[in-house]
């Protein structure tokens, strides 16, 4: 595929000489200009690759080229990269320029840290909308004002300052309380940030969100943070969510749909009753686009007065246990109220998910204890 139509990529624009560099086994893809080293381009795009001297001498960035041939190196020490290793396919990313699309296997990386290179930014955003998606969950959409864009990885979160009692906006980031919310969308140039927020009686941000916040108001944010991000491999994926845990999982699923990732994936979402379900249509659309993806909502307290229900019933962890066989080698992402997360982790491990492959975000509330 990659070779075909290479010349057409520029579509009449000036030749930019950029090529795709894909990193395995983390599945991250970036554009790299021929003028730049791969290490430098990655750093500029928030990908933290292990490195040391940046002079081709310490070998910290030594990696293995899985696909592609056309890589040129700036001057380097042949102790760091002997000729026989270069012929086998090794490269030094701090000296390497790609002249075609290449796939690189990283040999020295930490999956949790590799995405930590995105700069943490202080931002101001304006409220676009705060529509209810269930009786107690709000879909908060913000548009970034300054800066106009904050890059984040799907699954990450921002800290939002809750303006102090007197007035709004002027509370300052240091003085007011801060709450963390995961983005439900994927990073894009339009500067929109979507959140799914559950309103708890007495919750600090909830009360402010429901009673005070208006479209056009400004909020201060800091971020992105977090490592609830997709580790790409061929492994099966299991998502277990509840309540506002919808947001980061939706972000991961939207990203998979955008990138056409056809891994076997199941999203178990637990709600109390029918009226607690949300984003049903969008999830169905994602399932159509990704044939190996299945969405399994389950109700723990089905109430016939809210309508018929022929789906799964019971606590979400019981549903996972009932419907899945072995999950040996799978990657699991768990996000929801603490009791759900705490029940899900040992269950997933019993089913065969390696303990280091269970990724979770547990949120706490300032309102009533969650159900």
């Amino acid at each position: 595929m990659s070779g075909a139509g290479k010349g057409e990529l520029n579509k009449g624009q000036p030749v930019t000489n950029k090529h795709k560099v894909r990193f395995e086994p983390v599945g991250i893809e970036i554009d790299v200009d021929e003028d730049q080293t791969i290490l430098r381009a990655a750093a500029e795009q928030g990908i933290m690759l292990m490195h040391g001297c940046k002079e081709g001498q310490c070998a910290s960035c030594k990696s293995f080229v899985l696909e592609g041939e056309d890589i040129e190196h700036d001057r380097y020490s042949t102790f760091a990269l002997p000729d026989y290793e270069k012929e086998e396919g090794y490269t030094l990313l701090c000296r390497a320029h790609a002249y075609e699309d290449v796939t690189i296997e990283l040999l020295n990386y930490d999956e949790d840290m590799i995405r930590s290179g995105l700069p943490i930014q202080q931002a101001v955003a304006e409220v676009v909308s705060k529509d209810p998606v269930t009786h107690d969950m709000r879909h908060l959409v913000l548009r970034l004002i300054e800066p106009g864009e904050v890059k984040f990885f799907p699954g990450q979160y921002m800290d939002i300052s809750v303006p102090g009692g007197a007035g709004s906006g002027g509370a300052g980031s240091g003085a007011g309380a801060v709450r963390s919310f995961s983005m439900a969308n994927t990073s894009s140039r339009d500067g929109l940030l979507e959140f799914v927020i559950k309103v708890y009686a007495g919750g600090l941000f909830s009360r402010f969100l429901d009673s005070e916040l208006r479209a056009g108001d400004r909020l201060e944010l800091t971020g992105p943070f977090g490592v609830f991000t997709l580790r790409d491999s061929d492994a099966e994926l299991v998502f277990v969510g509840g309540g506002a845990g919808m947001a980061p999982i939706l972000s991961l699923l939207r990203s998979m749909a955008e990138r056409g990732i056809h891994r076997k994936a199941t999203f178990f979402y637990g709600a109390r009753t029918r009226r607690d379900l949300c984003f049903e249509q969008e999830l169905a659309a994602i399932a159509e686009k990704l044939p190996n993806f299945r969405y399994v909502p389950a109700l723990s307290h089905h109430d016939p007065s809210h309508g018929d229900w022929d789906g799964e019933a019971g606590l979400i962890t019981d549903v996972v246990k009932r419907l899945t066989g072995s999950l040996a080698g799978a990657h699991a992402y768990v996000c929801g109220p603490p009791p759900m997360v705490e029940a899900a982790i040992p269950l997933l491990e019993t089913l065969g998910v390696p303990d280091k492959r269970v990724y979770y975000d547990k949120f706490t509330t300032t309102g009533e204890p969650s159900d």
């Binding site: 086994p25 750093a43 933290m48 292990m50 040391g52 001297c53 940046k54 002079e55 001498q57 310490c58 070998a59 910290s60 960035c61 030594k62 293995f64 899985l66 020490s77 042949t78 102790f79 760091a80 002997p82 026989y84 290793e85 296997e105 990283l106 040999l107 020295n108 990386y109 930490d110 949790d112 840290m113 930590s116 290179g117 943490i120 943070f225 061929d234 303990d355 280091k356």
Partner: protein, 551 residues
């Protein structure tokens, strides 16, 4: 699944566990860190099947380069100014390497991560290899260089030398105190990740510019192993970070390790690179420029800062302060001046600076001549014996400094010197941070918390105190820095070996006043005298000048 991937081979190896099942390990070196919540990972996918062939290839090439250097008579063409400093550097550096090898077993026991044991074992083998090829390099210099004196005795020399004790302190940092503090934070997180670039990348470049292509070969062979070590450090740091009770200790240790590394490595490598070179091209990067690029821009901003959001408290203030010392307070120049002041207590020759050197220094460090120029002119004037004493005993507007108890570099930035009474002894420190290290960090309790594994900075630390009250000739004889004729000194403040009359001998030293330990004298002072001493000391400098007279 069938791809022959290194990562998958590495994964398989992890299944061969290193946890001993057949006995309970005895812990000699403990840690106050805990690793209850840490994920056990190893970021570097390196396997022995590719490790040993790579090392073998690298060793072969070092031997090949050694042959080439002998055939090409490199040893007679190399700049003597440069190679003389290698007598110091190559006497010290194998010790940190061996200390690093000794540090790895401290981690086997204290970091509960069988995956990492593979990496720690590889690092241990690396460090022994490094030490061996460095000592072999020294042997070649000794056999082939025009003046072997100082190379021949360097294993004995460095440990009690006027300058070498500083290097000893650095090497001991890898195995002193809490096992994680020493072997992980001090060694791998700071020394290797931040400072080996100046040690093993900048130094070889400078060697090559001075006609020595053998040292770069050896040190590239060393530096290309650094990836494994940096990775060991990173993995352990991430493990430590995931246990919140460690954050307080990490903050302490990063402050100590950063500051101590800066004090020692910048002192030594800064001096070798700036004062040991004959390469005065204006476009050559100065040590300060290299430091800014590697340590500030890269290590600090792209390695440390992203870890802040995982709870690592980064010593921003000390990083800025280290730069302030290098750029505004002339740290490297002060150290070089001190090394040259005591040339007679060393085992190598120190070349005077020439007009070409002066011009380069003024270009790279504006204001250099005004501070240091006069002193180096005096050094030149006093370099050949002519009825005067060596410069340390002549009046050249230089006050002999006190040692810093912690880093062992003297208190050269005079205004920063602080005093404290610790373990019943008055001690001077080059900076508040070094005082804190001794008086607060290396203690059995820290901020109310039990830290029994931390240890203390004790022993015969100061060179001057070893020889308090001795005659200089006896000091030099005792250290063994005398040439074969039994009287000519190994050290000389110039490079001219042709005329015996220009060489200093023990007879010249016998006429000098005896060595006085500033620390011994300090502890004999009354409280009032000590207060006056501090007030005066803090007004001295730059370039060691006496405090201005008060009217």
């Amino acid at each position: 699944m069938s791809r022959q991937s290194v990562a998958k081979a590495h994964q398989k190896i992890q299944e061969l566990s290193w946890e001993p099942q057949y006995h309970t390990p005895v812990s000699h070196y403990g840690t106050d860190y805990t690793f209850r919540k840490a994920q056990k990972k190893d970021p570097l996918k390196q396997v022995l099947r590719s490790y040993f062939p790579m090392q073998e290839e690298k060793d072969h090439r070092v031997y090949g380069a050694q042959d080439g250097a002998i055939r090409g008579n490199m040893f007679r063409q190399v700049q003597e100014r440069w190679l003389e400093w290698q007598k110091l550097f190559l006497s010290i550096i194998p010790l940190p390497e061996i200390s690093a090898a000794r540090a790895m077993p401290l981690l086997f026991r204290t970091v509960p991560n069988p995956e990492l044991h593979n990496g720690q074992a590889i690092q241990m083998i690396d460090e022994v290899r490094h030490s061996t090829i460095q000592q072999n390099l020294k042997r070649l210099y000794m056999n082939n260089y025009i003046d072997p004196a100082g190379f021949n005795s360097s294993l004995r020399n460095f440990q009690n030398d006027y300058c070498g004790t500083i290097g000893r302190q650095f090497a001991e940092g890898f195995i002193t105190g809490d096992a994680i503090t020493a072997a992980s934070i001090y060694l791998t997180i700071v020394a290797e990740t931040a400072f080996t670039n100046t040690l093993f990348v900048a130094m070889p470049a400078e060697a090559a510019a001075n006609g020595d292509y053998l040292l770069p070969t050896v040190f590239h062979s060393v530096q290309s192993d650094e990836s494994r070590h940096i990775s060991n450090g990173y993995a352990t740091l991430l493990m430590a970070l995931s246990d919140e009770s460690n954050h307080q200790l990490l903050e302490r240790d990063l402050r100590y390790a950063w500051w101590n590394n800066h004090r020692v490595v910048d002192a030594a490598i800064g001096t070798f690179i700036e004062y040991g070179t004959k390469d005065r091209r204006k476009d050559r990067e100065s040590y300060a420029e290299m430091w800014r690029r590697w340590i500030y821009d890269d290590y600090y901003r792209s390695y440390l800062v992203p870890l802040e959001k995982y709870g690592l408290v980064i010593p921003h203030d000390l990083i800025e302060e280290a730069w302030n010392q290098i750029w505004n307070k002339g740290y490297v120049h002060e150290v070089a001046q001190f090394f040259a002041t005591g040339w007679l207590a060393n085992y190598w020759r120190i070349d005077p600076m020439t007009d070409a050197d002066f011009e380069w220094f003024e270009y790279k460090y504006p204001g250099w001549y005004e501070r240091y120029g006069k002193w180096w002119e005096n050094y030149n004037r006093l370099s050949k014996p002519n009825g005067h004493h060596p410069i340390v005993a002549e009046n050249v507007d230089y006050v002999y400094p006190h040692r810093c108890w912690t880093c062992m570099v003297p208190c050269l930035v005079r205004e920063d010197m602080v005093l404290d009474q610790v373990d019943g002894q008055w001690r001077t420190y080059c900076h508040e941070e070094c005082r804190w290290t001794d008086a607060v960090a290396f203690r059995p309790t820290y901020q109310g918390r039990e830290t029994p594994n931390m240890g203390q900075l004790i022993g015969k630390r100061e060179w001057e105190t070893l020889y308090h009250g001795w005659n200089w000739a006896d000091v030099v004889s005792d250290m063994g820095y005398v040439r074969d004729d039994g009287k000519t000194m190994v050290a000389q403040p110039h490079l001219d070996l042709d005329d015996q009359k220009k060489l200093w001998t023990l007879d010249h030293l016998r006429r000098m006043p005896e060595v006085q330990s500033p620390n011994v004298l300090l502890n004999q002072m009354t409280d009032a005298e000590r207060a006056a001493f501090v007030a005066d000391y803090n007004k001295q400098g730059p370039a060691g000048r006496p405090a201005p007279a008060t009217s």
